[in-house]
């Protein structure tokens, strides 16, 4: 089925939660909803599911208007951030519950529950109660429950947030494969840009109830249509600086000069916002045409394999992402290097006007 949202708006008590969102979800597509907390991801999913009606707009399934239709008639499934299972039923009964309610016959239930459990690697836990399972196993059960009924729309609302790091990686790798062979529309909400990139598919970026961009995930990542999208789809958020183009060069507010060359060559005179991702800044010079900048070290976060160095200059704070462990002295002036070929340029309204060409290494887009 194809799910179409037409000008969906949702206001609750005078507050706009969803602001004029239109999108079309193709059959069998994997769609990531990326946005910060309170961006409206959950509300949008609830509207897609039919758990709450939109204030304005229509929801179409294959050209049929289903806006007011009750959720149990829509054949949807949802997996939540919390691990939602029926507490007094064992894993088997939990997975079987949607089928039982649909009136599927016993042998068929038995077969499908076992198949799904095997797929989720919980076939050895079928007799256990949810409270006896680890968080990962509980979430696997909840996902099995959602997948067993062959729904047309599967909504996953930050399903991995409450899992520990290792389990999260494990499940995140499995999810796209598990769902690949189905014609179910999958919608997956997350706050993490890395998760969106790893999951692939298409990505809709949400900001304060609006959808700022919708397209193939890597394309959105490489061409964020606006400053907002860039900020949301970068972790740490993309570094920004005001700049002006005049006399054949770009002058940053900080006084640094960038040549009007490469992908930036076509910028006309005027004001711009330049953006660069943290991983394209470096405390070591990386090439001949890098721009040297100076700033004060405010903070250094060491994650183990990487160091995030926060620098401050001319009222601007930037984050530099460095491989390995670095221990710069706090408060001290440091030099860092900008690779001008990785700069994004946004116009005065915040719309993208120039994006760096996609780097291709080993056949994979970086």
């Amino acid at each position: 089925m194809t799910l179409t949202l037409e000008n969906i708006t949702k206001t609750v008590g005078g507050e706009t939660h969803i602001d004029d969102v239109s999108m079309t979800l193709e059959p069998g597509s994997f769609n990531v909803l990326l946005g910060r907390t309170l961006a409206g991801k959950t509300t949008l999913m609830r509207i897609m599911a039919g758990l709450e009606p939109p204030t304005k707009g229509r929801i179409l399934v294959d050209d049929t208007d289903v806006t007011g239709m009750a959720v149990q008639k829509r054949n949807v499934a949802m997996v939540y951030q919390q691990f939602i299972n029926y507490p007094s039923m064992n894993v088997f009964d939990n997975i079987a519950s949607p089928l039982k309610l649909q009136g599927v016959d016993k042998a068929e239930i038995e077969k499908r529950v076992r198949e799904t459990a095997e797929l989720m690697h919980i076939e050895h836990l079928l007799d256990r109660l949810p409270q006896e399972l680890s968080g990962g196993q509980q979430q696997r059960t909840a996902m099995a429950r959602a997948m067993v009924k062959d729904c047309k729309l599967l909504l996953l609302d930050e399903p991995l947030v409450n899992l520990d790091y290792k389990l999260r990686e494990e499940l995140r790798e499995e999810i796209p494969n598990l769902l690949a062979k189905r014609d179910t529309i999958v919608v997956y909400a997350t706050t993490e840009p890395m998760e969106a990139l790893l999951l692939g598919g298409k990505c809709a970026v949400m900001h304060e109830g609006r959808m700022t961009q919708f397209g193939p995930t890597t394309q959105v990542y490489h061409n964020p249509a606006s400053v907002e999208t860039g900020l949301i789809f970068s972790d740490p958020p993309i570094n920004l600086v005001e700049a002006e183009v005049r006399d054949g060069a770009i002058f940053m507010k900080s006084g640094h000069q960038v040549p009007l060359a490469g992908h930036l060559a076509n910028l006309g005179n005027g004001r711009y916002t330049l953006g660069i991702r943290a991983n394209h800044l470096s405390v070591d010079p990386t090439g001949d045409d890098t721009i040297t900048m100076q700033g004060q070290v405010e903070l250094a976060e060491i994650t183990g394999s990487e160091t995030f160095v926060h620098v401050h200059f001319n009222d601007v704070s930037w984050v530099i992402q460095e491989e390995g462990v670095h221990n710069p002295r706090l408060g001290e002036a440091t030099q860092f290097y900008v690779d001008p070929t990785r700069l994004f340029a946004f116009d005065a309204n915040g719309a993208l006007v120039a994006a760096p060409p996609v780097e291709v290494t080993n056949g994979k887009a970086a």
Partner: protein, 290 residues
């Protein structure tokens, strides 16, 4: 492995030990003391062994009181628990209604036992009490001071009025702790209202319900003040529950030996029932888990 010994730790335990000794162990030992001796005055006493226990346990009046007590406590639980759950389910979940209903529900809980007794004593009177008057007006001959059944029922209604709120508040707290996502998940599955109650709300309320049932069991099994104020245990022996019986024995007849023996038996009954109930409920949960 060398065990680290630090004798200072004993000083930290001492206050608790002291308080428990004063509040529980020493009084209990006094009762034990009385239960095995016939004491006339501090100098004159005789060891009687299990005589008081035998006398008390074979007392027919005590058997009657025990049966009356069990029937009463069961009735209290059978009414208050389902009623409490039902009321909790109908309470509003947000808005001003929440605080309003909380205050209303908490009111009976704030009233002292003997005041509850007095309220109902007056309320139930056929001549000047609103409740008693209305019941008689409906053609039902109601008089708690003369009719055993009426007295027994009045004590029961009194308890339900006084304590159902406790179950309601406990269940409501349990219900409030259920994330909204559970209800959404059930809605997506198309589960019925009954299924939501049976498979989400009831299991999620289990732990608070255990506490509620235990509290109500212990409390109603020890009921004293309300029947004492209402009818003093009468008419006849209709509302003479175990506590009344015990008080009559100890204070009225000053049979301290049998009263002490009976106190211990009484205490053991409550302890035993609570322990059995708790173990059964907790094991029932585990049984299902395997």
């Amino acid at each position: 492995m060398n065990k680290i010994t630090n004798n200072k730790a004993w000083f930290l335990v001492l206050p608790v030990f002291f308080i428990v000794a004063i509040s529980a162990i020493i009084p209990l030992m006094t009762v034990v003391n009385y239960s095995v001796q016939d004491i006339f005055d501090p100098q004159t006493r005789f060891f009687v062994g299990t005589e008081w226990f035998e006398q008390v346990l074979s007392d027919r009046r005590l058997h009657d009181a025990l049966i009356r007590q069990i029937v009463y406590t069961m009735s209290v639980l059978l009414i208050e628990v389902p009623l409490g759950i039902a009321v909790a389910l109908t309470l509003p979940r947000k808005g001003w209604g929440v605080s309003a209903s909380m205050v209303l529900l908490a009111l009976p809980l704030l009233i002292p036992w003997n005041v509850v007794g007095t309220i109902w004593q007056i309320f139930g009177r056929a001549d000047i009490g609103l409740g008693g008057y209305l019941i008689n007006l409906m053609g039902i001959d109601y008089n708690y001071a003369q009719n055993s059944m009426d007295a027994w029922l009045t004590v029961l209604v009194m308890d339900v009025w006084h304590w159902t709120s406790l179950i309601v508040l406990l269940c409501y707290a349990g219900l409030r702790s259920i994330p909204d996502a559970y209800y959404q998940a059930a809605k997506i599955d198309g589960a019925s209202r009954w299924a939501v109650f049976r498979f989400i709300q009831l299991p999620k309320m289990q732990s608070v319900l255990v506490i509620g049932v235990l509290l109500r069991f212990m409390d109603s099994f020890m009921i004293y003040t309300e029947p004492f104020v209402l009818t003093g245990g009468g008419p006849g022996n209709a509302t003479t529950f175990l506590s009344q019986f015990l008080t009559r024995m100890a204070v009225g007849q000053f049979d301290l030996g049998p009263a002490a023996a009976f106190s211990l038996v009484y205490f053991l009954i409550i302890l035993l029932v609570c322990w059995v109930f708790y173990t059964v409920v907790m094991n029932a949960g585990k049984q299902g888990e395997q």
